[in-house]
Symmetry: C4
Subunit: 203 residues, 4 copies
């Protein structure tokens, strides 16, 4: 019904556009907003959240590829879970600019903005877990992992999802902490070894 | 004159950008617009129409692939019909943000916005039908379906087109109803079985 | 130095994004701008220029593919001409929204907007011709066409370039005429037969 | 863990979107801003910086492809360096529009805008160098170049990075000079011969 190649191409396109749209919110007030140097300093939440979200989307894309490369076939439900994941990915620029905006104005609503930001990440993390769990249950993987590795992988996904819950809770302490935790998570995933591990010869 | 692969790549690109541009209209007034939590609640039409349009574009993309994978060759007219389809797909973010905007302000023009929204979907649905009908008539399919299956497929396309006419009519009752109907249609198509059915081995 | 496949993939991406960005300028004033139906009618230049530009970009993409599929190899200069072409393609949404804006306000500057619009199309047309002429001169084509066909093809490209000069001149009479001429040209190219003609089996 | 093909597809997507987003900042004040011809003349920094940035991104894309086509495999660290490179590429439209904005208003902050512009280019240049150096050290290249060619290539990369430092320094003299230098650099790279040289048969 759907070959993997085209699902990956479409998903890659969505990831690429979403990661680039993040940059639309880079931007300062302009000449009428006072010295540019001061504006750049004052806009630090915009730049910090840009970097965190950029690497977060980048790493989801890497993991998306790693996961789908293990699948022998796809079914309708998997397409749905993939669309759900992409729906959260596409919402990241919105959550990012909202968080940056509220951090910059030191508004009391910044806590809600932190909740929104980590909440979108949580939705993304849960959709990703759903894709993996569905692949296991529906037998879509070409080489189903042995039980112990399976448990370990589900645990790892659960840990990611739990981390974003912690990041949501952190928003009540300080939404800046939410951003820091999301940054640490992205950094962790960049360098973490995945079960499917190992390099492959280039195609 | 045109190989299928590059038409699909271009179409995938357009689908991917269009689905991501939907998120440009996510966005609240910002710190000067009062508590964020209240703004998020008041912007419910923005989020609801985002979800409906996201899955609608997603599902058109899935069906687009399913349909083109059946074609053995393409001709100039098919390129035109495909461009027409994409023209409506690309207009969906505009129709979505207009509907959300008018729903949110409870304006009397919301009915026109509902008509616009379902009308763009109708244009998309009719272009899609045109692609299928042209493929049948010009003998572009690699395995032309038997007459009865053919009739069934045309009927199914016609049903989709008719449903959006109903969604247009519903705008006179309530544009929210239009959005709900469009959501039900997208949900139906996500889980519906298509004639070309079955999973395929990943390429 | 550069394989054709990746140049096409990059170009396809640029075409796909440029064609979708056209839709960013669809958009009305919103609830505070009076009845939506009246706004939609008053915004007719926005919709008309959207349709013309959409099909123009679509058809350049088709012709881009047809031309590059004839090339056996690429050189640095060809990459430059291709970037120049893409630079004009990417400027089309800007030229389109400027024309629509000035047509809508019936401003006296609409003539300049018409010149800008047809001028960007002219730049695109000339870059396209440059790609073809360079391919002939540098021997990049896999099957160099015989002299008479060669002359015919160059003539055809020259005709396209001349047509946009006419469209530029027409802006002094009426910028609406410029838009109509551009629309006729796009329509002509959609259904025109190209020298490389014929359908191909899908890859 | 990641095949080259999909990394290239994703990177191509990001390059394509970033290069197209440059055009979002083309745009004049509109009918209420006086004669269009005068507006177009006054907006010259917008158009000049658009051309320079367009060719800069275009040429990075060309070099990105040339470099990755030499790699036999990828590792996690290389994915990170690639994401870092893309993060700077995606920031170019922001740096471009800021520079154009400040040049146009003749603000005293234009020096800072010039620093920002050349600084983003510098970040991009350094990330690119990091990708090459890492590929050498981690043995990712399929045909590691001999020591002398290796030194020459690293020198060439270093020269690019040094050039952007010069462009940053030039901002203190005149930010227009920064733009001119960046333009010269892009032009130089378009026509420069790269070590991996030579044309290849199209795939």
């Amino acid at each position: 019904m759907m070959d993997r190649g085209r699902l990956e191409a479409f998903s890659d396109g969505v990831f690429a556009v979403a990661i680039t749209l993040l940059a639309l919110d880079l931007g300062v007030t302009g000449p009428e907003g006072g010295p540019l140097a001061r504006q750049l300093v004052e806009h630090w939440p915009v730049f910090a959240s840009y970097v965190v979200s950029f690497f977060t989307i980048g790493i989801i894309w890497v993991n998306h590829h790693a996961l789908f490369s293990l699948m022998a076939r796809l079914d309708r439900a998997q397409l749905f879970w993939n669309l759900l994941l992409l729906m959260f990915v596409v919402a990241i620029p919105f959550a990012t600019s909202t968080l940056a905006d509220y951090l910059r104005h030191g508004s009391r609503s910044a806590t809600v903005a932190g909740l929104l930001y980590a909440g979108v990440m949580e939705g993304m993390s849960l959709s990703f877990t759903a894709i993996f769990v569905h692949a296991l249950r529906a037998g879509l993987l070409s080489n189903p992992p042995p039980p112990e590795e399976r448990r370990r992988a589900v645990l790892q996904f659960g840990l990611g999802a739990a981390s974003y819950v912690v990041a949501m809770a952190a928003a009540f302490v300080s939404p800046i902490l939410t951003l820091i935790l999301a940054g640490i998570l992205a950094g962790y995933y960049v360098f973490q070894h995945t079960p499917d591990g190992g390099d492959v010869e280039s195609a």
